[in-house]
């Protein structure tokens, strides 16, 4: 955390990856080319452990959606969440993260889950309902009562804080 480097070499990043599960990750990939670190270990990284969407983040970067990351996917995750990544790329993955049920739409169910994670379920059901409805009303351009990626991107591209908040520093 708080590392001042902006560009990592393979070794440094792999060091971080190796740290997560020293018993699982080999230093030499010739024998076991597809090793993966399970979700539970990645989620406990200090950079992620406070994040209410940590499971979703890891899951949306894993190929199978189960949250086990190979080193390539691990690198992928931090490259998207780095400062250097462009807004469009971040938007694509943000959409995936908030899409809890992986149906390529942010429907009300997804929004409710998002909101409950954001507020630690301190809002009453009515309030949650209201907020979700308002969100959909604001951002839904095609009137199907759920947010497609186009809707989401349109909304997020105008958000003033998106770029400054949607990145992780390792």
């Amino acid at each position: 955390m708080g590392n001042k480097q902006t560009i990592f070499t393979d070794e440094q990043l792999h060091g971080r990856y190796h740290e997560l599960a020293p018993h699982l990750v080999p230093m030499d990939y010739t024998n076991e080319p597809d090793c993966k670190v399970p979700l539970s270990l990645i989620v406990n990284m200090p950079e992620l452990k406070e994040n209410p969407f940590r499971n979703r983040i890891v899951e949306s970067f894993s190929e199978g959606g189960d949250g086990n990351l190979s080193f390539n996917e691990f690198v992928d995750m931090f490259s998207v969440l780095s400062e250097m990544a462009p807004r469009e790329l971040k938007a694509i993955y943000a959409f995936k993260i908030y899409d809890f049920n992986v149906d390529n739409f942010l429907c009300k169910e997804d929004l409710e889950k998002t909101l409950n994670r954001l507020t630690k379920e301190e809002l009453t059901p009515e309030e949650v309902e209201l907020v979700c409805d308002k969100t959909i009303e604001e951002a839904d351009l095609d009137g199907d009562n759920k947010l497609s990626f186009a809707d989401f991107e349109n909304m997020i591209s105008r958000a003033p804080d998106f770029l400054s908040t949607f990145h992780i520093r390792i």
Binding site: L118, T119, L130, K134, G143
Partner: protein, 953 residues
């Protein structure tokens, strides 16, 4: 002979091509040519893969092979030409190329004859669709089987053909993939012929290589998984490496290899350099650590502090390098003239710590203050123009500060211009309020709380049902609060004025007779006011019951007013003191002149005697008011700094320690309850910093040491505050947004800069400098130094030109012109802004219209569906034809659904025709992203197929 046999040979191979082309022509006659090309490309893709295998074997044979391959294809084209005359235009070009190459190839073709014959026999047994694909593999096979056993080659061929058929499936999918892929294939095709290229094809190849390069560069931005990125990167790098060299031919290859190595080295160097640059940014590490604990708003304060440090560094360099060092090195040494010597009366205590701490004694008579500088025009062997330099540095610091602040403001304004509309209030809260940087449990808890409150606030605002039940009471309370605040402000102003006047009285009595408190009263009172008044305002503002954001603004405004009021009272009191000093100076001056006259008189009486030389310490001198002003500012800065640090230590550190350790033996929870830990007050700290800077700007002219002092202060507070934040603060609950507020701070800084330069300029312009101290002594006004320099240091014509230019007849029109220009620019910018707003409105309207339209369409589709359902339920028993109709309606609805969403969701069925025929009306509705999200099942499928096929080479 070879041409004919070749033609007949390829006929069967081309049959399939032709047949398909005819099909195509039914649909789109014009596109058919292009399509065929594409098909060829997909065939060539396999060719390329094979080629990778081949590459290893022998590079010397390559050239010949490729030529043959080309020839083959060209001849096949010829054959096609015979059948379809209408497409001649395209092929004519290619034919022209072929004919030029033909002559050189005939020899080699004879060698191939044998193999080709075996091939034709085999081809007849194959299925037609296979034939389409293996045009290129066959040619390869042919070459490989040269001089070998034909049986073996046959076997191998069969094996390859199986592969080819599987490859064909892939190509089908791949043809749907990104355009780049297609282009890649295109390039592959061209590159095959790279040895015998016509100039235009060379051009094409060059373009292809360029495109590849572009792809490499933009790869990072592509939303693909890392695996795919790696694969395509490797691929395109290989391509570029291989064929860029081919472009250069022969000699170019070496140069190219050298170039490649150099670029690789350069990239690595750039990478390292980038990292190195980051390590050079001061305190980056600390700030990022804070950012990851406290979120971006607290970090914004430290970034602001660092920015301020940078500015002060420049100011310091100016004053130190151009004023202090030259004077110390080249000016007359200490003790040579009266202004550089401690007066006899003060000599005894000049080295005392208390005196030095007050910047009296030796400190007063040093380069640190205005009074020390001599009015000698040029000093040292460099003929350094000291007074001029002093004046210009004074002006330069102010000008530089203005420039920097305004430039930063303009830049910030550009950045913050994006998200000012409020149409996505809830969505933004939902999707962007979590700060992914947060990695600390407490911060996270606070963030959760603040998000919850912000949602609740938004809900309340949204409902808007809450009306002030007692509006009169609220109004009364607000008026009362403002009245109280005004009282506070007036009281603090009066207090400062009173204290300053009293301190003058003390100063007249002589400082030695008074206690420490009485000597430092002014600064202490100002610092204490600055410390306690904001707290008082905070309490008062609870009366007002404003929305927290509004309340914060009021609070900031009030603190600003308080600081400003204090500063200006201080300045006014200082002005009084300046006037007093000047009166004193007049008396001293008069005394000195009379004394000198009498002295001269005595000297003239007995002119034989040597003139009595007084020791400089004994020479009577005036009270140098400039030095006095400088001293006051320095003391103010010192005491301000001290109060800040002490508040930090007591208010934050001690409190944190007490809360932490007394919590075990206390009757209530100290951490959660009353004292708890202190928050980091971003806005208050920023304001403190801004006012501190204002004082620097104000006093820097009279005390050149001020920027240096400030630099020291900022440096220390950087470390101290970083430490304090990390060890004893908790993050704010109500976060003052960093992104939106930056310009607010900058605006305050600009106001302060303006207000602090005003008095400085006023004193410079209106008050004549002291007669016996400072670089401008003896002049009527300080800015006369410019005039003097112009007259004596520049040629006559220059000063003449200058005097003409400064003629009011020229200056006035110039000012007028500037005003006009400003007016013009302002009005145009206003127009632009209006246009912007209009466009925004239009956009919104369009959005809403689209929303409505889409809703209507959706409704209609639903109605249709229901009707259809009804119909089907009514006539379940009738003919199956009905069912078909219903199905069609379903289909049309589905189609509509696709079009509505502006993207192709992962198709549940491989129903490509449906998607292709979907109306494209949505394109103007959603100017959104390309039709799919990366990594959706559809794409990952193709990837799965693709990867192994690529890994073969």
């Amino acid at each position: 002979m070879s041409q004919d046999s070749l033609d007949s040979l390829v006929t069967s191979e081309n049959d399939i091509d032709i047949r398909l082309d005819v099909d195509d022509e039914y649909e789109q006659e014009r596109q058919s040519g292009r399509r065929r090309k594409r098909r060829r490309r997909s065939g060539d893709k396999k060719e390329k893969k094979k080629k990778h295998q081949r590459r290893r074997s022998s590079s010397s044979a390559r050239d010949g092979r490729e030529e043959r391959q080309t020839k083959k294809r060209e001849s096949s084209k010829k054959q096609r030409e015979k059948h379809f005359k209408e497409r001649t235009t395209e092929r004519n070009e290619e034919e022209a190329q072929t004919s030029s190459v033909k002559a050189t190839k005939t020899n080699k073709n004879i060698n191939n004859e044998k193999t080709r014959k075996t091939k034709t026999a085999e081809r007849e047994t194959e299925k037609r669709n296979e034939k389409k694909m293996d045009k290129s593999p066959k040619t390869i096979e042919r070459k490989e089987s040269e001089g070998k056993n034909t049986d073996k080659s046959k076997e191998r061929k069969k094996h390859k053909k199986v592969q080819n058929s599987s490859d064909e499936e892939k190509t089908k999918e791949e043809s749907e993939e990104d355009k780049e892929e297609q282009e890649e294939l295109d390039k592959e095709q061209e590159e095959v012929r790279s040895e015998c290229l016509s100039p235009e094809e060379l051009e094409k190849l060059k373009e292809a290589v360029d495109e590849r390069k572009k792809l490499i560069q933009s790869l990072r931005v592509k939303p693909w998984p890392m695996k795919k990125k790696l694969v395509s990167l490797r691929e395109s790098q290989e391509f570029v490496e291989k064929y860029e060299g081919a472009l250069g031919k022969g000699k170019g290859r070496k140069i190219y290899a050298y170039k490649v190595i150099m670029t690789k080295k350069w990239m690595k160097f750039e990478r390292d350099f980038e990292n190195f640059k980051t390590t050079l940014i001061p305190w980056e590490m600390k700030i990022k650590e804070i950012e990851s604990h406290f979120g971006s708003s607290v970090a914004s304060y430290f970034i602001f502090l660092r920015w301020m440090y940078g500015i002060n560094m420049i100011l310091f360099c100016l004053t130190f390098g151009l004023v202090m060092v030259p004077e110390a090195l080249m000016g007359r040494p200490y003790g040579s003239i009266p202004r550089k010597t401690v007066p006899r009366a003060e000599e005894a205590s000049a080295m005392d710590f208390a005196v030095l701490w007050d910047f009296g004694g030796y400190a007063q008579y040093s380069v640190l203050f205005y009074g020390f500088y001599n009015n000698q025009r040029a000093i040292g062997w460099l003929k350094f123009r000291m007074p001029l330099s002093y004046f210009l540095v004074g002006v330069g610091t102010v000008a530089y500060s203005y420039m920097v602040v305004i430039r930063t403001m303009a830049r910030n304004a550009n950045e913050s211009g994006i998200g000012d509309d409020n149409s996505f209030n809830f969505s933004w809260k939902m999707f962007t309020s979590w700060d992914y940087l947060i990695g600390n449990t407490e911060t996270a808890d606070n963030k959760f709380a603040s998000i919850t409150t912000s949602f609740k606030e938004a809900i309340l605002e949204e409902q808007e049902s809450r009306k002030d039940d007692n509006i009169h009471l609220t109004r009364f309370l607000r008026v009362l609060a403002n009245f109280l605040v005004l009282c506070c402000l007036a009281g603090s102003g009066y207090l400062i004025y009173f204290v300053v006047r009293r301190s003058q009285k003390f100063a007249l009595d002589g400082l030695e007779n008074h206690t420490w408190w009485e000597r430092n009263e002014v600064n202490m009172v100002m610092s204490l006011l600055g410390m306690f008044c904001p707290m008082l305002f905070d309490v008062i503002s609870t009366l007002e019951n404003y929305h927290p954001r509004v309340a914060l603004q009021w609070q900031l405004g009030r603190i600003f007013a308080l600081f400003l009021g204090n500063l200006y009272t201080f300045i006014i009191a200082l002005m009084d003191e300046i006037n007093l000093k000047r009166k004193e100076e007049m008396i001293v001056k008069y005394n000195i002149t009379t004394w000198e006259n009498s002295f001269n008189g005595t000297v003239s009486e007995n002119s034989t005697a040597t003139p009595i030389s007084l020791h400089p310490a004994d020479v009577p001198r005036g009270p140098c008011w400039e030095t006095m002003v400088g001293q006051e500012f320095v003391r103010l800065i010192i005491s301000d700094t001290m109060t800040t640090y002490i508040t930090l230590l007591i208010g934050d550190f001690l409190r944190a320690v007490l809360v932490r350790f007394l919590n075990h033996c206390w009757c209530w929870d100290l951490e959660a309850g009353f004292p708890s830990y202190s928050e980091f007050d971003v806005s208050g700290n920023v304001l403190g910093l801004i006012f501190n800077q204002g004082m620097i700007w104000m006093g820097a002219f009279y005390a050149p040491c001020l920027p240096a002092l400030n630099l020291l202060r900022l440096h220390i507070s950087m470390y101290l505050q970083c430490w304090a934040v990390m060890c004893c603060n908790v993050p704010q609950e109500r976060v003052f947004k960093a992104s939106g507020s930056n310009n607010f701070y900058m605006a305050m800084l600009l106001v302060i800069l303006f207000l602090s330069t005003l008095p400085a300029i006023y004193t410079i312009v209106t008050i004549p400098p002291s007669f016996d101290c400072g670089p401008f002594s003896g002049k009527n006004r300080m800015f006369d130094v410019i005039h003097e320099t112009l007259e004596s240091d520049f040629p006559v014509w220059f000063s003449k030109v200058f005097s003409y230019a400064s003629n009011p007849g020229l200056v006035l029109p110039f000012i007028l012109l500037m005003v006009l220009a400003i007016y013009y620019l302002q009005s145009t910018s206003k127009n632009y802004k209006e246009a912007n707003v209009k466009l925004k409105k239009k956009l919104q309207m369009q959005n809403e219209e689209n929303k409505k339209k889409n809703k209507r369409a959706a409704l209609k589709a639903q109605m249709d569906l229901e009707e259809a359902r009804k119909a089907s339920s009514q006539q379940k028993h009738v003919s199956p034809r009905r069912h078909q109709d219903v199905n069609e309606i379903h289909c049309s609805r589905q189609r509509h659904y696709y079009s509505k969403n502006g993207r192709n969701p992962a198709p549940p069925v491989g129903d490509r025709s449906l998607r292709r025929s979907a109306p494209r009306t949505y394109q103007h509705v959603n100017p959104g992203p390309p039709g799919y999200l990366p990594g959706l099942p559809r794409q990952s499928e193709t990837r799965m197929h693709r990867v192994p096929s690529l890994q073969r080479h």
